[in-house]
Each structure stands twice: as structure tokens, then as C-alpha cells.
């Protein structure tokens, strides 16, 4: 179904601005599907994932620009480094729970942001740096239309992998960690390793999308690693629906498009955005998609 939507949507796109917004929405969707494995399924929070996203972006930008590596290699190396970093910090911080974990991940994200901002000789500082096009085997991805199809395929792939994972021994173990850590432990689930695993996986997702984003956008600033961006990602997941692959996807798409629509309300935009966030969470506490689905089920059951 997703494939159909992705194929049909461009019929409504009259120019490349629409493709651009759609590509950004799909970028966010991929990050959120990954992040949802951590937040929605394994029940762990992270307020620092924008940091991993930014590391991927800067990793690719630097490795291609100053070392002349091919973009795909730069992307994989960055993702590996980010994965290792997530592994190293994940061990100690994932012992923390709830708000303490939120604080620790937030700290990690902010430290990454500060480093990117401060090491101006390498990163260009707060004013940002430019990035080359993405090319693979002599084939260059250019223009919003081509990006649309590439990212669309990646999104479908991501959703497929995520759905696979959830309905598998590893996925069930992750969800069990959310349900009850001690309950999972006593039947043989090494909960701390699984928490680290899903943290690393979601960080790698963020890093790879960061790399692609850098190439596509052609210009990056350290703000993509800011605390605000981390919060945005979490809001997308929670608003769309935790523990629902399509929920996270829908959340990402809606929150990417919403500002483009809210553009017409001028200074009331922030108030409306805040009100929408509050309203959704009050009336649909499980997020858009799961709440709608269960309401649907209830109605069917009632008849």
C-alpha cells in the first residue's frame, strides 16, 4: 500500500518544491521508523537522536570533501562510527530509566552539537558547510525528482525491515523489554544487550539518513544536530503513534507538511502548532494511528 502511495503521490506534484517537501518527509519518516523501534517498541526514550543524524551528515560531508571518498563509502563509514559511538555510550546510559535516560541522551546530543559548532576549522562552524551530490558507480543522484524515487524505495525497504524485525524473536524480545524488564530477564532475554542493540540500530538509521540528507540538501549547519531537532523527531514518533511502524511514518509526514500549511497563519503559527500537539495527545493519547485504529475496531465490535 505504501508503495502505491509513493508511486501515485507525484501525480499531484506540480513542481520540484513538492518533491523537495516529500523527500524531506520521507527522510524524517525513515529516521522515525528507526527511532520508533527504540521509543515505541523497546520503551526507551532518546532526546539526542538529532546528534546521530548530524554526525552522519557531517561525516559524509567531510569524508567526501576532504578525503575524496565516494559518498557510499563515506555514508557507511559514518554509520559505522555512529554505531560504535552509540554502542559505547549506550552501555552505561541505557541502565538509566525514564527522565534520567531522557537527560542523558539529551546531554549526548547537546555535546555532539557543541562539538560540531565549535570545531569550525573542520565543520565550518555555525554558518555550515556545503556538500557534494550523491553518486554511486558513476551515477549521480540529482534533482528532486530523482531523489524522490531513491528515497521512496529506501522508505519502503525500511518499513519492510522494521515490520520483519517486530514480528521476530529479536523484535518480541525488544517489546518484552518495554512490557517488563524483569519479566523478560527471567525467561532468558538479556535486556541490557537488547536495549543497546536497538539504540545502535536507531542511531545508525539516523546517521544514514543524515548522510543522504547532507548530499541532497547540498548544505548543512550544526543546527540539524540541535536539541530542538531531537525533540521534533520524538514528537513525530509519539504524535503518529508509538509502537506502530505506519504511525511513526504518518507522524513524520504530518509534522513535515504541517508547517508548510501553517505558513498562512503568520504569527499564530506557533500557538496553533502547540495547540495541535496538546490536543492530539490529550484526545488521542496513543497517537494518531493507533487511536484511530482502535476506535475503528471498537465500532466494528459494537455492531
Amino acid at each position: 500500500m505504501l508503495a502505491v502511495v509513493i508511486t501515485v503521490a507525484p501525480l499531484g506534484f506540480s513542481n520540484s518544491y513538492y518533491y523537495d517537501v516529500a523527500v524531506n518527509a520521507m527522510f524524517n519518516a525513515i529516521v522515525c521508523v528507526g527511532l520508533n523501534l527504540l521509543i515505541g517498541y523497546a520503551g526507551q526514550i532518546s532526546l539526542g537522536h538529532a546528534g546521530f543524524f548530524a554526525l552522519g551528515a557531517y561525516g559524509s560531508a567531510l569524508l567526501t570533501a576532504s578525503w575524496g571518498l565516494p559518498p557510499i563509502a563515506a555514508m557507511l563509514i559514518s554509520a559505522t562510527v555512529v554505531g560504535l559511538l552509540a554502542f559505547v555510550v549506550g552501555r552505561p546510559i541505557l541502565k538509566l530509566k525514564g527522565h534520567y535516560l531522557a537527560m542523558a541522551t539529551l546531554g549526548i546530543g547537546i555535546i555532539i552539537h557543541i562539538v560540531l559548532k565549535t570545531e569550525a576549522k573542520i565543520t565550518g562552524g555555525p554558518d555550515g558547510m556545503s556538500v557534494d551530490n550523491f553518486s554511486l558507480l558513476g551515477f549521480t543522484v540529482m534533482g528532486d525528482r530523482m531523489w524522490y524515487w531513491v528515497v521512496g524505495i529506501l522508505l519502503i525497504l525500511t518499513v519492510w525491515l522494521a515490520l520483519n524485525l517486530i514480528d521476530s524473536p529479536v523484535g518480541r524480545a525488544l517489546r518484552a523489554v518495554h512490557g517488563s524488564e524483569v519479566g523478560a530477564e527471567v525467561v532468558g532475554v538479556d535486556t541490557s544487550s537488547y536495549k543497546v542493540l536497538v539504540f545502535v540500530v536507531s542511531a545508525v538509521f539516523a546517521s544514514m539518513v543524515g548522510s543522504l540528507f547532507a548530499h541532497k540538501n547540498g548544505f548543512i549547519t550544526p543546527d540539524i544536530g540541535s536539541f530542538m531537532h531531537s525533540v521534533e523527531l520524538v514528537v513525530m514518533v509519539v504524535l503518529g503513534g508509538m509502537a506502530s511502524v505506519f504511525g511513526a511514518l504518518i507522524g513524520a509526514v504530518i509534522l513535515t507538511l504541517l508547517p508548510q500549511f501553517l505558513a498562512v497563519v503568520e504569527q499564530y503559527e506557533a500557538m496553533i502548532l502547540g495547540a495541535i500537539m496538546m490536543g492530539t495527545m490529550i484526545f488521542l493519547p496513543k497517537g494518531l494511528l493507533p487511536s484511530i485504529v482502535s476506535a475503528f475496531k471498537r465500532r466494528e465490535g459494537g455492531q
Binding site: S14, N15, S16, Y17, Y18, D20, V21, N24, K117, T118, A120, G125, P126, D127, G128, S130, D144, N217, G218, F219, I220, T221, D223, I224, S226, F227, M228, H229, V231, E232, V235, L255, T256, L258, P259, Q260, L262, A263, V264, E266, Q267, E269, A270, L273, G274
Partner: protein, 384 residues
Amino acid sequence: MRNLTRFGAAFVVATSVYGAAGVALAADPIKIGSILSVTGPASFLGEPEKKTLEMYVERINKDGGVQGRKVELVVYDDGGAGEKATTFTKRLIESDKVDILIGGTTTGTTMAAVPLAERGQTPFISLAGGVNIVEPVKKWVFKTPHTDRMAAEKVFSDMKKKGLTKIALISEDAGFGKSGHDQSLAVAKNFGIEIVADEVYSPKDPDVTAQLTKIKNAAGVQAVFNFGFGQGPAIVTKNFKQLGMSVPLYQSHGVASKDYIKLAGDASEGVRLPASGLVVPDQLGATDPQKPVVTAFKKDYETAFKSDVSTFAGHAYDGLQIALAAVLRAGSTDKAKVRDEIEKTSGYVGTGGLVSMSATDHMGLSPSAFHMVEIRKGDWLLSD
């Protein structure tokens, strides 16, 4: 969280003023697109820029437009984020099909938009300070404000005149301050000035006495130069006074607005900074060509908005004037022709100074555009 408020915080400003409703226009309007940081940390730059553009577009249309064509303005708020600036610039070029781009409140948002303007072959007049916007020259990109390098040079030449050769830098570690800091380091030795201490602070730090104490204890500091905007410089100024530091304090053009004096209060007495004639219209010489322009602009702005004029508003005014003059000369909104005409801008008297552009200079301001002012009794005093 701030990003969320700006999260595309897009202001489509429906300022397009079509004469009487329903009256068919003789020609298509001239479409000007603008990305500005109306919210976020640079909002007190973006906000006056937006208000200025709106006010003058409305006035021009009331007066019959340009060559009988109305001017239509589309503004989007990028919240100071480069990534939002990219998307909105694309929207302006691709979807709104604007003829000219004005904007980019900060160097970061400008640089994010530059590749799109180049690719979309749309003339782009930036309102940001970074020297890298026009160096190296980019075919479609121009800018109106003085560069941070010019500000640093102006300050250093003033120091040199006063025999101050060993100085300390304290700068904000965000875009404006960081870029100014780097330019200061680059040009200092041309003036025989040695930077003996170099400290930074975050834009929202409540107290910077720690950094200033380090500067105070550095050997031989003869003056302190602060690069930043917003409330930071006011806190620096207050803390400077608190520590009883007696060397001269210099600020950058980033604080050339009355708000700075209001916030820093008595502590700002004696602070020197480079600023355009706009802040001291009455003190300009009677023969100064800028005098009538800045006096009129100041009056317009202050009557319309009941608040003190800022130099940032002036950058927007200059950008609009240069763009529309180029359209007038080109006789059409053909993008290539307009671009050529902007590059031929010569002898334009703006709020920032005398502008004469060329193929190698896409800003066109000479160093004389800056005046050195000193704060005396809570007001600006021209002092060069």
C-alpha cells in the same frame, strides 16, 4: 523546542496589495520572495526587516507600482535554520515563481539558499553580514549590509589611531559572533594588532564574568572587542563594568540599535562601535549625501512602528530599493537582465552608505560607509 515553533514557521505574508479588488491589472505583478528569520534567535533582525519590506511594498503599490506593475511580496520565516531556508527558497523559486529574492537574515540561512538561487538563476540580494556571501563572487548573489570584516577593520583602525595594539576578543559562539571572530583574527595583523586573549560565550549565558576575568588577568590587554548580537553584548557590557575593567570596550555593528543601550544601561557609557549613518542622522554633515535618505527612512520607520529604527531594517530597505531600481532599468523582470542591472548599481545612496557594485564587487560599499560612534549619556555620538 525552539525549532518546533519555527518548524517551518512559515509566514506567508499576504502583503500582496492589489489596488481595488477585482480590477484587472495591466501587467503581472513583480514578485519578490523573501526568506527571513522572523522567529528564533535572530528574530530581532528578521522582524524589522519583514516590517520594512511590507511597509515599502505597500507604499510603492499605493503610488502606482513600478512601471505600472504592482509589487507582490511573499515572505517565509526560516526561524534562523539553514535547512528551513533551503526548503522555503525552493518554494519561492519553484512554486511561487518569484522574480527576485531578498533576504537571508543570517549568513547561515543565506549560504543555505545560495546554491538554489544559483541553480534557479534568480537574482538574490542577501541581508546578512558574512563576507563569504560575496567572496568569492557568485553570479546571482548580492548583499546590502557591511561585512563583518569591514566592521573589524573599522574597529581595528580606530584602535590603531588610539595606540591600542594588544587587545582581547570576546565573541558569541553562534553564527554572527563566530564569523566576526574569525574575520577579526584574520585582519588583526594588518593593523599591527595582537590578540592576547580570545574568549567565547553562549548566546543565552546569564553571566560572563568568568570569561571577562580571564581577559582582565591576561597580561597587557589594552582594549576589549566584543562580537555578538542580542542580549549577549549587553550582559558583556554590564559584567565588564561590574568587574571594574577600565580599558576601552568596543562592540560590533551587531548592537547598533537603541535596545542595546536600554538593556546595558549606564554600563554602556563610553562604548565605541562601528555603525552606519542611520543611527546618527542628525549628526551627519549637512553635505553628507546620506543625510536626507537616513533621516527620511528613520522618520518613516519610527512613525509606522513606534519603535526605534534599527540598521537591520535599513538593510532590507536598501535591498528593496536596489532590486526595484534594477527592474526599472531593465524594463522587465527577465531574471538575467535584472541580475545584470543589479550588478551595474552605481552611486545608490542607501541607509548603509554609498553603493557602487561591479562584476567583482557584489556589495559595493566602501569602508567609509561605517562611522565610529560612541555611547554618551545613553545616545549615539558620532566620533570620527
